[in-house]
Amino acid sequence: MKIDKILVSVLQRRFKSITEEMSIVLTKTTRSPILCEAKDFVTGLYDGKGKMLEQTENLPILSFSLGPVCEYIVDYFGDEIYPGDVIFHNDVFSMGNQNNDVAVYKPIFFEDRLVAWAAAKGHQADVGGAVAGGYNPKATEVWQETLRIPPVKVYERGKLRKDVWDLIFANIRFEIVAADMRAQIGSCVVGERGILKLLEKYGLDVFETHKEYLYESTEKMMRAEIATIPNGTYRGEATVYYDGRTPGSKYKIRVTITVDDEEITFDYSDTDPQTDGFVNGTYTSSASATLLTFLQMVNPDIPHNDGMVRPVKILIPEGTILNARYPAATTFGNHLCPPNADAIIRALSRAIPERVTAGWNQLLCYLTSGYDTRKNDNYVDIGFLGLKGGSGGTKGVDGYDHIGMIDASGGVLDQDYEMFEQQTPHLLLQHEYWPDSAGAGEQRGGLGVETRFEIGGRNTKVVTFGDGDVEPAFGLFGGRDATLNRIELHYPDGTVYKTTTKDLVEDVPAGTVLFQQAGGGGGYGDPYLRDPARVAREVRNGIVSVERAEEEYGVVIDPETREVKQKETERMRAKRHV
């Protein structure tokens, strides 16, 4: 069949707009703030074999396991997939990325043939297990984390399997989860309708051949991008600190990247073995992290479909911290993305120095829960606003201030301050850029943020998860490291407790102030090459101190006028260069 190249463009545009429509259904209808406020979900379309057609990736770390699970489901049910089926899945030992992220798959049939799939996956408020919400730092095996859901049909041929539905939701604490899963099914129905309309219009043969052509043209784009990276083998490593069990424990992520003309391989064979706690990745959470980091170094306009991933190989041996062996605990796995990204950036900084960023601030997050005496109701709040540090600087562009971890890359939003005070019993005292937190550089890192709030209500629990309190975001090519993450509880009696990065603190009294610093991003290039006028502007704005301007940038600022002292600056900069 002759390919209508214009129709290929048309189909690509339509796939994208269908996944966006699926995404809107979830934003507007879900009730868990993790979904509707933070948009911790993805939607996607897959072909009959489970290959990616298009995705809308609000939180990229979730997105690149939808395809592998879809292929697994096709294989698992074989010829027992019927029109009207709806399949749930979260199991990390059958390609799931994190067991809090539960996916819905709906097969799409046309003229009695399985031609495509619609899928939606979201981070659920609870999926059973030992601890509400699934973050159980004490877990040593999967059953202590959540209910395992390997592929299971909750609808077959359009009929609800009530027994199966009840079995699943009998094991889940919060009622809103069932409502949110219904919303995900609704999202897949919207996707199915969109694909069927295209098939009715163009017919199956045209659809299939043009889809293949789309994959090929996307693959060509990706290959052309990879071809711009010099051939060679590049190694990088990063450290994961504290497994939640043994203070001072450390694990290395080691990646060997081989660029061979138009193909690239990420090999993690030298990475340290898995931990015996929950700080472990699964293959798909780790591979997602690898892909999303690499995608930031290529043309952002490349469509996201199977063609994009074809020239990229990712090898992660089982038994490593990035691909833990059954039945390990793995809930922390998504949060191994930041150190994984660090290892990749370090490796590729030698190959494509102008396209990598310096290190990003690592995630450190708190979660408060308790009883709101104003409303006589329980509440849970994830500290999105406090966790967002800076990204690393890159060639010609400063890091992004207050963006948050690389696995979301600015896709997760702060709570609005006034809504935060309506919905929790806390009083927000400060949420501002943290001056001098960014790594200095010709391009500085993004600024981190300081947050302070007074805890109210009763029975307050504070949970923390993350990293970044030992090693700051790193600078590159002469750029400086940034600042560390920190969470402290200042009790009303004057004592201060600095939390660990995987902590659970119970019975926090009202009046305690939670103080968080999310560090900045690393600097890029020699800070002495930064334009003194920019440094002066930042001093004037109070985000760089007069002292730091002099120490780090060699820019002497008159503390009164806030203007650059040209001569002193020249002298100072010349001195160091000698």
């Binding site: 306009d301 890359s409 006034e418």
Partner: protein
């Protein structure tokens, strides 16, 4: 003779529509004067006077109303040429404005930078003060901070000030003290106080909107003051009204004090015009699309009411005032076609604009645009573009399409032009999908009103892509917004936050908030000379299920708010939630939360009347010009197609597709799937064959 004039200032042209009781409306277009748009406006008035054989002084005496849409505020934000603004905000929270809740819109693009804030950090002054979530004082206001801020602002030459404190939606006591001090210190500064301007919850939304108002306030004030002086100088004694983003108009004085209401007013008159044109034929719903040189605006109207949003943005900055929900995408006559690295054809969003313009303008543009493709396909006549004022160069168009599209794709230039035409139509169709499907409406149930210079060339193909059976091309389609302005009523929005569970509502408080807003509105409309019997109030509530984050706006009646009739309100909320999102939690008994009370007050204005034509029979022969070769997209071949002079088509004339209808300012392409009927006002209705009887009934044949 009494005239009313609608004036829409665009990037290239300033459009005028002149109406009177007993004559056909007249269209004028003059070149815009971006440095001072009032110059182009006055030029247009002079041209009109000349056309009527009068000098401007005699002419302007007959003008009772001028409705004016201006983009001076929009441009001030886009080009960062607003006023130097200082901000007073609560200590500890000075960066909310710049952080924008920590979003990076392009997640995979590490070269994508944050927007520069309208107020730099050193002019965002933190003030010691704090109210809690109920508006009760946690920390007293430190007036010494205010004086320090005043000193800084004076030193820095600030000409506009914004005040936004935490939780001030619940109580204005600290903001009003701060406002008093600032007025005393800076009697001439432009001041916006958040608890007055937008007393609703959501700190980032409020601070961003408040700052935007101060940033553009002095710009609008200067512009309108100078315009009024110019109009006074020629003896204008009628009423001047200014278009707002909410689809209503407002008197200049009120616009100056609330300058941000004009920020996205550019396309806002389009939907208003859409309602008027389609309601003539008995429709209550429609979708309007307006395709100009660089952008394409789509809006949806349901029950004669355009969709409204409070989640608007300008240049990535939140603008949280009620405004028409208009989807704008980068698709226009000037949109540039290109081939990406993977060999796929794309159109836009880059545009060649009017300078250098499409390749066929021969003004230096060498990149192939939508207009070039339209020319290659025979949809435009090289000798009759803009009525022949702009000659088009066919060879330049071919060359651009060949070099940039056809050769890289291994096609001939016609095939490539057809591809460009198709891709841009798909892009525009997805803009329409966004405003319909994504908002829960099926576009097939709406007539498509196509406007703008380039809109009618593409309307049929957009409609086919979406399976829309009925299309309307208004007679004034090329100056659609100028026409819409004359049809707009005065409109004012008010909002107050009252955050509580609906069941715990304090009836007295609830009622008094609405009555306060109503009093304020009536006073305002009275100052705009609207008699009491021409005022309409629309009451609504922002409600949600407990623990949800997105509210649903529900309209209620006067009786319901006076009686604080919770059960009636609940009965309205559940089905509305169900309609929008496909489910309700009525059976589960989930409690409902109230967030905001809203009032929309409308002052009805007299609408221009259009002259009706006599029935002329079906035969369009009088308007027949010639036949020319036109490319038919679905058949993928050229065919000789009849061309009609649109100005000669009469009421009742029927044209079967394929056909071309040419007017001076626009060309309508009727594909073979559609038939056209001309209605008694000179507008065209296009429809698929099996709708003919229905359409004839609607237009009264």
């Amino acid at each position: 003779m009494e005239y009313k004039i609608g004036i829409d200032v665009g990037g290239t042209f300033t459009d005028f529509l002149l109406t009177s009781e007993d004559r056909n409306p007249e269209i004028y277009k003059v070149l815009s004067t971006p440095d001072d748009p009032s110059v182009g406006l006055m030029n247009g008035l002079a041209e009109m006077a000349g056309a009527h054989g009068m000098d401007i002084g005699d002419f302007i005496k007959n003008v009772t109303t001028i409705v004016h849409g201006t983009t001076v505020t929009t441009n001030a934000v886009l080009t960062r040429k607003g006023a130097r603004t200082g901000l007073l905000t609560t200590k500890g929270l000075r960066d909310a404005l710049e952080m924008r809740r920590g979003i990076r819109e392009e997640q995979y693009n590490n070269r994508y930078t944050n927007v520069e804030p309208l107020v730099p950090r050193y002019l965002r002054y933190p003030v010691e003060e704090r109210l809690d979530y109920k508006g009760e004082v946690v920390s007293d206001l430190d007036t010494a901070d205010l004086l320090d801020a005043a000193e800084l602002f004076r030193k820095e030459g600030v000409e506009a000030i914004a005040i936004c404190f935490m939780n001030s939606f619940a109580d204005d006591r600290h903001e009003s003290v701060a406002a008093g001090v600032m007025k005393e210190q800076f009697p001439d500064a432009y001041l916006t106080v958040s608890s007055v301007f937008l007393p609703s919850i959501r700190f980032y939304d409020r601070i961003s909107t408040t700052v935007l108002n101060s940033y553009v306030g002095p710009i609008l004030k200067r512009y309108l003051t100078s315009l009024i002086e110019k109009l006074d100088a020629v003896g204008f004694e009628g009423i001047l009204l200014i278009m707002q983003s909410n689809g209503g108009v407002v008197s200049p004085q009120i616009a100056m004090d609330n300058a941000a209401v004009t920020l996205l007013s550019g396309p806002a008159a389009g939907p208003v015009a859409g309602i008027e044109y389609t309601s003539i034929q008995g429709y209550t719903d429609c979708i309007t699309v307006d395709m100009g040189g660089t952008s394409f605006d789509a809006a949806l109207i349901k029950d004669k009411t355009p969709l409204v949003t409070t989640e608007g943005e300008i240049n990535r900055l939140r603008l949280s005032l009620p405004m028409l929900d208009i989807v704008t995408i980068g698709a226009g006559g000037g949109s540039i076609g290109w081939v990406d690295e993977g060999g796929l054809l794309r159109m836009g969003p880059q545009s060649a604009g009017s300078k250098p313009g499409p390749a066929c303008y021969d003004l230096g543009g060498v990149l192939p645009t939508c207009t070039d493709a339209d020319l290659l396909l025979g949809l435009l006549d090289k000798d009759f573009f803009a009525g022949g004022k702009i000659p088009l160069d066919y060879d330049r168009a071919v060359q651009a399409v060949k070099e940039k599209i056809a050769d890289p794709l291994g096609m001939d230039p016609i095939e490539a032009a057809a591809g460009m035409y198709r891709v841009i139509n798909v892009n525009m169709a997805s803009g329409v999908r966004e405003v319909s499907v994504k908002r829960g409406h099926d576009p097939r149930e709406f007539p498509l009103v196509a406007a703008g210079g380039a809109g009618p060339v593409h309307a049929c193909m957009i409609a086919l892509e979406l399976e829309i059976p009925v299309i309307m091309i208004p007679k004034e389609s090329s100056i659609f917004c100028a026409a819409g302005m004359l049809m707009s009523d005065l409109k004012h929005n008010f909002v107050r936050t009252y955050s509580t569970r609906l069941n715990d509502i304090d009836a007295k408080k609830f009622k008094s908030i609405f009555l306060d807003m109503e009093r304020e509105a009536t006073k305002l409309l009275k100052s705009e000379h609207i008699p009491r019997d021409a005022i309409q109030h629309i009451y609504s509530l922002d409600l949600r299920y407990v623990k949800q984050y997105h509210e649903v706006n529900v309209r209620i009646t006067r009786d319901e708010f006076e009686g604080a009739d919770v059960s009636a309100i609940v009965d309205r909320f559940h089905p509305e939630h169900n309609r929008l999102f496909g489910y309700s939690l009525e059976e589960e008994g989930t409690p409902i939360e109230l967030i905001n009370l809203r009032l929309l007050s409308i002052g009805k204005t007299a609408k221009p009347k259009f002259v009706q034509e006599q029935y002329d029979g079906e035969d369009p022969l009088n308007a027949f010009k010639k036949r020319r070769k036109v490319y038919l997209p679905l058949a993928k071949t050229f065919e000789m197609v009849p061309v009609y002079d649109g100005h000669k088509l009469k009421f009742g004339n029927k044209v079967e597709g394929p056909a071309i209808i040419e007017q001076v300012n626009t060309t309508t392409f009727v594909t073979p799937e559609y038939t056209v009927l001309c209605d008694r006002y000179g507008s065209y209705t296009m429809f698929v064959k099996d709708r003919e009887d229905e359409i004839k009934r609607k237009i009264g044949i």
